[in-house]
Amino acid sequence: AILKNRHGKRHGKKSKSRCSKKPLHVNFRELGWDDWIIAPLDYEAYHCEGVCDFPLRSHLEPTNHAIIQTLMNSMNPSNMPPSCCAPSKLSPISILYIDSGNNVVYKQYEDMVVESCGCR
């Protein structure tokens, strides 16, 4: 029997959470990218983390392939890994930077922020 705490969560054995969006603060200065990026210096990018286990929830918008792979994983975990928890929707951010000719450029970079995660 698995003990549950007062919040109803599993207690004792460390359990992995379901695939979901988690915080990820990106600091360009720490990356050493502040030599060409003027702004922003940092932003909230988020990341996807967690397991894609059977049964897959509909909000994770699994691909058909992910459904098959997850099913096979549930039947024989040693033969097939679970499907991957990955960004399913991304949004852009604006970046002001200095290009190789020392010109100041504004660019909207696609796929910089995770909006939602799914099983792929």
């Binding site: 050493g32 990218w33 502040d34 030599d35 060409w36 003027i38 702004a39 922003p40 210096l41 949004s91 852009p92 951010i93 604006s94 002001l96 930077y97 200095i98 290009d99 190789s100 000719g101 020392n102 010109n103 100041v104 450029v105 504004y106 660019k107 909207q108 970079y109 696609e110």
Partner: protein
């Protein structure tokens, strides 16, 4: 000033008298300036940072601020008419020079190195932004409309003109000339990568050429942020990765002075190894 620099080598290390300017003082003063600012951390950064040789024009900062704020509010940047549905807006600072500071300035050539502009990007717009400040004396004498004419450097062909309203020009302002049609025509690019335009000012009635000094077009003593810029609005179809931009930037900085000013952390072997 000379005696100050001569006596510096004999000063003891503990002396509180600052040494000859070596760039660090400049950074120090900039840091003070930035810390007194009540603006956001981003603004503090680019005012007080180490990108001494590149100072973004206010216009580019305002573009960034407007569009990044719009993003946070969930608005599409193309919503703004000024963006012309572009996803990249590049600014090129004028590299032209005036002949002699005191001689009359009848014509002025604006020169922009646009070699970094991708041939594959679709050009949606181009503006020439010139900082002007009409001299007080000139306003007293000349109240006729002044025509600003844009000419081709190569053929002297008239490309565009604009009437300056001197009544409205009592304060410094940026004149914005639409050069999209001209820019699209690659004939105006010299040596393949330099965009050249010539400007002259005429009195509307007499067609007499004016000294551009009176209109504040001269470059003498002009700060980086007041230099004319060519702003090009493009939309690239190809999705460009961040890392390719970074590689270009890093290559440049590795050969320049800016690399030395990045601070002890980024110069360490471990840091370099990690970046590699």
């Amino acid at each position: 000033f000379q005696s100050f620099t001569i006596f510096v080598p004999s000063a003891s290390k503990s002396s509180k008298v600052p040494k000859v300017f070596d760039g660090r003082e400049a950074k120090y003063f900039k840091d003070i300036y930035s810390s007194s600012s009540s603006s956001s951390s981003n603004e503090r950064y680019y005012k007080g940072g180490f990108k001494d040789s590149v100072e973004p024009h206010d216009y580019m900062l305002s573009i960034y601020k407007t569009f990044s704020t719009a993003e946070k509010l969930g608005l599409n940047a193309s919503f703004f008419r000024s963006s012309k549905a572009a996803n990249t807006i590049a600014s090129f600072v004028d590299i032209g020079q005036d002949d002699l500071p005191l001689s009359p300035l009848r014509r002025q050539q604006y020169l922009f190195d646009v070699s970094t502009l991708s041939d594959r990007a679709e050009v949606l717009g181009a503006e020439l932004r010139i900082y002007t400040k009409v001299s007080g004396n000139f306003r007293m004498l000349e109240m006729e409309p002044v025509d600003i004419q844009l000419l081709s450097c190569r053929s002297q062909q008239l490309l565009d003109s604009r009437t300056l309203d001197l009544q409205e020009s009592h304060r410094p302002r940026w004149e914005v000339l639409d050069v999209w049609e001209i820019f699209k025509d690659r004939d105006h690019l010299t040596q393949g990568s330099q965009f050249c335009l010539e400007v002259k000012a005429m009195l509307d009635n007499t067609e007499r050429e004016l000294d551009l000094h009176h209109l504040g077009f001269h470059r003498n003593g002009r700060s980086q942020q007041k230099k004319a810029i060519l702003v090009v609005f493009t939309r690239s179809k190809k999705r460009q990765t961040l890392f390719s931009e970074r590689r270009e930037g890093r290559t440049l900085i590795g050969h320049g002075e800016k690399g030395k000013e990045r601070g002890p952390r980024s110069n360490s072997k471990a840091s370099r190894r990690r970046r590699t």
